[in-house]
């Protein structure tokens, strides 16, 4: 390369570098915190979405920032909020809605919904997901990576136990009966294979809410100011959980770790497990045997909580930034993108029409397990969420773990949990 060529090249490079900011002059920058809670190349997917959006909307720059787990992300977002420079939008747990409102950190979506098109968008989500996104007549979160609890079963082990491998348990009684057949013991009486596992480490309240809903209970009022932990139906649900290990001996005793439960399933140490639909892709990639996915069995009714993350818009961002963030959120939740996101991750697509897209139809055709979570949404209830959410939830978690480890009777454990929740929530009524 001679000197002139080199200079020309440098000039072109410099020109290119200069041209970019010139194009972006007056561009609105939207910083965006997101957590990762399931396996897979999530960071790449999000970056690709941001790039595609920028191509269609040259006046907006999306700056996605991976912020850790859900817990770490809210810590970072709220700390930044208190310091005065919060991310314009973030994906946080849907249950953090009351906390974010109490911290005065977010604005409702209603302020941005102006056109017919906007209104249609707001109506497009599964109603089950909106339960945790609305309060006081306003919408505070837009569903994005949402999930429910489902039952996974090992078809091979079902066959070995003389059960129909295509028929998961439909009721609580069947669940116990199947689990009894699926529990294997060695000569000395030690269990080599458990019938069922419902994880109880960390956030047992979420899986328990499935049981409680099936027993006909509601754990908290929609205003998030009152819990009903000590209602007879709740105690009945806990008794059922405790009995699985104590009375029927088909479930491991003590606390079952959430993180290792899928591994237990892969290792054939357990024949049925309850876990999130978000694990679907993980199980599909790692289970070396045919498996099924089913709705949770019914008690008095079917039921499962929803879970996962919503988009929120920061109150301290400028109106232009907020508007740009709204545009991005609307863009990323179109049927096609919701479908793709669901296929890539295992999360439930957040709107019914996503399941009518060609991509989703093809996916569900090849892998019918993917539709189970959607079908269950009909029976889904709002995830437990109150003011001072984490503290009120911890009261329930502690009570559940006390009962599961045998430290307290279910009735006593729930009475104590309720008393603690009452103490915390009193100032909010």
């Amino acid at each position: 390369m001679d000197r002139r060529q080199f200079l020309a090249g440098t000039a072109a490079l410099a020109g290119g570098a200069l041209a970019r900011p010139a194009l972006a002059q007056g561009a609105t920058e939207v910083s965006f915190f997101y957590p990762i809670a399931v396996g897979g190349p999530i960071t790449k997917l999000i970056d690709a979405y941001a790039a595609d959006f920028e191509k269609e909307n040259p006046s907006i720059r999306i700056k996605p920032i991976y912020a850790g787990t859900y817990q770490e992300t809210i810590v970072k977002a709220l700390t930044a909020h208190k310091a005065g420079t919060p991310p314009v939008t973030s994906v946080l747990l849907s249950t953090d809605m009351f906390t974010l409102i109490d911290e005065d950190a977010i604005v409702p979506f209603d302020d941005f919904v102006k056109t017919e098109d906007d209104k249609k968008w707001l109506q497009s989500f599964f109603p089950g997901f909106m339960l945790n996104s609305q309060t006081g007549g306003k919408t505070w979160g837009a569903p994005f990576q949402r999930s429910t609890v489902v039952l996974y079963w090992n078809k091979e082990l079902f066959k070995e136990a003389g059960l129909d491998p295509e028929k998961p348990p439909q009721t609580w009684d069947e669940q116990v009966a199947f689990a009894e057949k699926l529990t294997k013991r060695d000569a000395s009486g030690n269990v080599t294979q458990w019938g069922i596992q419902i994880p109880s480490s960390g956030f047992p309240y979420w899986l328990f809410q499935g049981l409680a809903t099936q027993a006909g209970a509601i754990l908290a009022n929609p205003e998030g100011t009152q819990t009903f932990y000590d209602k007879p139906e709740v105690i009945e649900a806990l008794q059922y959980w405790v009995d699985l290990s104590r009375k029927h001996k088909v479930h491991p005793p003590g606390i079952v770790e959430w993180g290792t439960t899928p591994k237990d399933f892969f290792e054939r140490k357990v024949a049925m497990m309850w876990t999130t639909t978000g694990n679907l892709t993980n199980v599909r990639n790692n289970a070396k045997f045919p498996f099924g996915v089913a709705m949770l069995p019914a008690g008095k009714r079917r039921g499962s909580p929803t879970g996962g993350g919503n988009f929120y818009i920061s109150k301290k961002a400028s109106p232009a930034e907020q508007q740009a963030a709204f545009q991005f959120i609307k863009w990323i939740t179109t049927p096609e993108r919701a479908a793709q996101w669901s296929i890539d991750t295992g999360y439930v697509a957040v709107r019914p029409d996503a399941y009518d897209t060609p991509a989703m139809k093809k996916y569900v055709g090849e892998f019918p397990q993917a539709a189970v979570a959607r079908d269950q949404l009909e029976f889904a209830v709002a995830e437990l969420s109150t003011h001072e959410n984490q503290r009120v939830t911890k009261a329930l978690n502690d009570g559940l773990q006390a009962a599961l480890t045998g430290a307290k009777q279910p009735a006593q454990a729930m009475k104590d949990a309720q008393a603690e929740a009452e103490r915390i929530l009193k100032p909010y009524r």
């Binding site: 817990q71 109490d102 003590g254 290792t260 237990d264 503290r391 502690d398």
Partner: protein, 309 residues
């Protein structure tokens, strides 16, 4: 810098620079300044601010912070999770401190001798210290896994009952204590090893001439000479017993039912999960006072019984 080498035209400056005591003082303070500034900014000021905050209520947008006096401290007295965490922390300290120090001493004496593969053994003992706690905790999580975890596979060989180490209230605290001991002992061993190597070999020769047994030599000569190291290690072990919570976050999140909740973990929970910042400040103050008392005890009482060369 040597003051005599500085040539200064100003008489005043020259007087200052040539006045040996004053120069030394100024030099001293200048050298201390960067460290002092950092310490003040990131340690002393936050500690004072925490102490002040603990007398206020947590600010909420609808209810601004106000002075509440000792309310937060009264809440601590009535908080069962605090008492449980304190009790857990005492058990954790009692479990980790003596065992890890004893183990460190034992390992140091062992690898101080001329044994085959000495370097390899030393490295093996020190490895846990190098690994990040989060990684360690994730590995141990699988050691403790029921049914197919390493520990279960070993105990099953001896026909022991299957156990759920982390999932039972009786064994969870013991299980996380063990991880801490494993992590710490190698670190303390290094200090003992350094101290052992600085003990003059003539002492060992003299003892051998006198016909002292190995045990007598250790008890009468090595151990007393190691006392300054023991104090240092002890101070560190105590601090670590109240500081190490990374593995709790990974392995149990304080569960089951607060059985493994340690003080610092509980403070984190109150501060960053519940966002009750002033209550967390009050808890932090209690922890600081507790640590200060222990440190005073150690330096005031123990140090007088230690022989420094």
């Amino acid at each position: 810098m040597d003051a005599r080498l500085v040539i200064s035209p100003q008489p005043l400056l020259r007087r200052v620079m040539t006045h040996p005591r004053l120069t030394a003082t100024i030099h001293g303070w200048l050298l201390l300044l960067p460290a002092m500034a950092l310490l003040a900014l990131f340690t002393h000021w936050p500690a004072v601010a925490t102490f002040i905050d603990s007398f206020y209520s947590t600010p909420r947008p609808r209810r601004p912070s106000r002075f509440v006096g000792l309310d937060n401290y009264q809440q601590i007295l009535a908080d069962p999770v605090f008492w449980q965490s304190l009790w857990n922390n005492l058990l954790f300290a009692l479990g980790t401190i003596p065992v890890s120090i004893a183990l460190a001493l034992l390992m140091a004496v062992w690898v101080n001798d001329r044994i085959v593969g000495r370097t390899a053994v030393r490295m093996a003992y020190f490895t846990p210290t190098v690994l990040p706690m989060i990684a360690v905790a994730n590995i141990w999580l699988f050691f403790y896994t029921p049914q197919y975890g390493l520990l279960e596979q070993i105990t099953a060989l001896f026909g022991a009952e299957p156990r759920n180490w982390l999932g039972s209230k009786d064994t969870a605290l013991f299980a996380v204590t063990l991880v801490a001991i494993w992590k710490e002992a190698g670190f303390f061993m290094i200090f003992y090893l350094a101290a052992l190597q600085s003990i003059s070999p003539s002492l060992a020769e003299a003892a051998a001439l006198e016909g002292a047994s190995r045990w007598t030599f250790f008890r009468r000569v090595q151990f007393p000479l190691l006392m300054p190291t023991t104090l240092f290690v002890l101070v560190n072990a105590v601090i670590n017993a109240f500081r190490m919570v990374d593995h709790i976050v990974v392995m149990t999140r304080g569960g089951p039912d607060n059985a493994t909740s340690l003080l610092l973990f509980y403070i984190y929970q109150v501060g960053f999960n519940f966002w009750d910042t002033t209550y967390a400040a009050a808890l932090t103050t209690v922890l600081l006072v507790l640590l200060a008392l222990v440190a005073l005890l150690q330096y005031g009482w123990l140090e007088r019984r230690i022989h420094y060369r």
